[in-house]
Symmetry: C2
Subunit: 406 residues, 2 copies
Amino acid sequence: MVLKGKVVIAQGGGPTAVINQSLVGAALESRKFPQVERVYGAVHGVRGIINEDFLDLTQETTHNLECVANTPSSALFSTRDKPDEKYCKEIFEVLKAHDVRYFFYIGGNDSASTVNIVNENAKKSSYEFRAIHIPKTIDNDLLVNDHTPGYGSAAKFVSQAFNGVDLDNRALPGVYIGVVMGRDAGFLTAASAIAQKFPDDGPHLIYLPEVPFDKEKFLGDVREIYRKYGRCVVAVSEGIKNEDGVPVAKDLMSKIEYDAHGNIVLSSTGALGEKLASYVKENLGISRVRSDTFGYLQRSFMGCVSEVDQHEAREVGEKAAQFALWHNMDGSITIHRTGDYSVDYRLTSLDKVAKYTKSMPEHFINKEGNHVTEAFKNYLRPLIGQDPFTAHMLRAPKVDKILKNI
Amino acid sequence: MVLKGKVVIAQGGGPTAVINQSLVGAALESRKFPQVERVYGAVHGVRGIINEDFLDLTQETTHNLECVANTPSSALFSTRDKPDEKYCKEIFEVLKAHDVRYFFYIGGNDSASTVNIVNENAKKSSYEFRAIHIPKTIDNDLLVNDHTPGYGSAAKFVSQAFNGVDLDNRALPGVYIGVVMGRDAGFLTAASAIAQKFPDDGPHLIYLPEVPFDKEKFLGDVREIYRKYGRCVVAVSEGIKNEDGVPVAKDLMSKIEYDAHGNIVLSSTGALGEKLASYVKENLGISRVRSDTFGYLQRSFMGCVSEVDQHEAREVGEKAAQFALWHNMDGSITIHRTGDYSVDYRLTSLDKVAKYTKSMPEHFINKEGNHVTEAFKNYLRPLIGQDPFTAHMLRAPKVDKILKNI
């Protein structure tokens, strides 16, 4: 029997450059099915459901949906709320009141948990209900998935940023430290390596949350690179931790701010980069040491999108609607790499994607723990799409000196 | 009589996204003239001249020069050296030793001064010599010029960045403060306004070095916008000053670092943005307040270039070679707006461009001193080139509540 009712789509967590592709993929596909009475969008994620803030996406033009798909950040707006059991029950009650039978939630592992609990509520109430989690995160830390929508575009931003600052650092040499988002997973910081073309290109050093950060080792690394090249470009993850697992950034902050999930707010402070810069300056006697914290630019910069990421984000949205509406199935859409480069989408049970996160595997990190491997570069390369931006250098020969040779 | 000899081209100051267009424009045009015996590039600007570090650009392929032209940052590398009389005399001596008769220096107003003094040295020695300054600066602060090469592309970066963070701020509302480069001129910070499309788009407030910064006024402005929209996006120039002309950033820095020009190093510290964010948080009781300092990304980001800026940078380089080689003239190439939108290039005497800088004129700043005018937007729009990146929003109608209306 075909399950008649409404569809609700929501977006959660940090925005990405392609999250609206998933929204539009799910919305347009859902609108094709006769059993779908309406397609609603929840405004500000799960909080919008609680507040019954819905937009009727069946009254939105296809053209404008396509335009929105190409716009970064969450068009339905987002939330940092992390629903507990009671919150999930409320979500379910609202969805039931509106005769919602299909729920698609685009987000990270927390969102997968939410979808799971809401679904359990439906089962307990014997309410026929299909709930699907659509993957999204620039951190690339979802289990089961080869990679996640949003990552490729953010990686492209980080790659282009490091490509540029490395050229800048060649022109005006010194030490440059760029701090990249990533609380527990170093995938985004590691993307800085893709910018390397010439053998002496930066970043020369990469520090990830997966490798315990040792200040003395860091100092030695910078000293060696600086001696070799007369300059040094460093990529550092905001989430680097010391031997005891304490974020290095935590020691440096005067006031510690926690988000709704109980995590320390690492973004929006330049403290980590600046302290590391001071540390280098004081201990190595290098005068020109600069740091930047990439902050929010890296997840929402207009016009820096991987077309591979775009297509995949669209497809996971569409697949969610197909699995729910053709097959009457629940779960999380997962991306699997099947070739070099090809992917397949599968439906995975929600509990396998929820709760836990994925870190950089060992074979992606070099032995020294201060850079990435070729295996990582091969993994990342197809995800950032075609990149027409390549640096070129002058290869003209040096002229013989006249005065200095006298 | 035709003046036979070598050409030297150099790049000074902060790199831009299009400075290599000027280098290649001057090099390729110079290579066409039979009186030009060699085209040299000085490595690391004027310091490269002193050190006799030249590359022979006549042995560089045209193809690779074209590739380099499309690469951001200074391909000949740069310097922060600000030559005094003695330094300029040394420059002249080296140029003379190498039989250099044409000197093209791409840079800001300090570079124009250098060209001027070197030229005076040549005159005093009755050495036949043509010296031309080629304009470049993301700050857009050169006198006589309508605008300067490098500005359009940096402005495009700032515009796309604010376009993105504004969408991000809609999704997860709060107060966002973005700090943009610009010590004395607010042109680059003002470019954040071009991102605005919908009436409630950010940045809602813009603070420039040209308007004395009043913390209480700032607080009131943010309060009002936040009350109106439930969020607030602010663009702040790193160079904002208080009533007494003291940089606001200076009060906030624990250690003050000066560059070779005696200016405080404002970039590479997030202190200004973070202090303003704390100030808002503490006084307005808004919990989500974030700040980013755009830092070096804004002048060297790969792949964010205005094609208008690119073409003009190319043309000022070419014009330098033409004025020197066809017309035997010295001076600074200046850009003049002749229509909407068209430009013309003229040769202006060096002393008119050297030393002083230009600020935002009054009619580009709104009466409140916290935003820009339509006149500024009309001025800027053609400079950032075609921008295919436009934000779109959902226009779907709201759904009636069921539970909340019971």
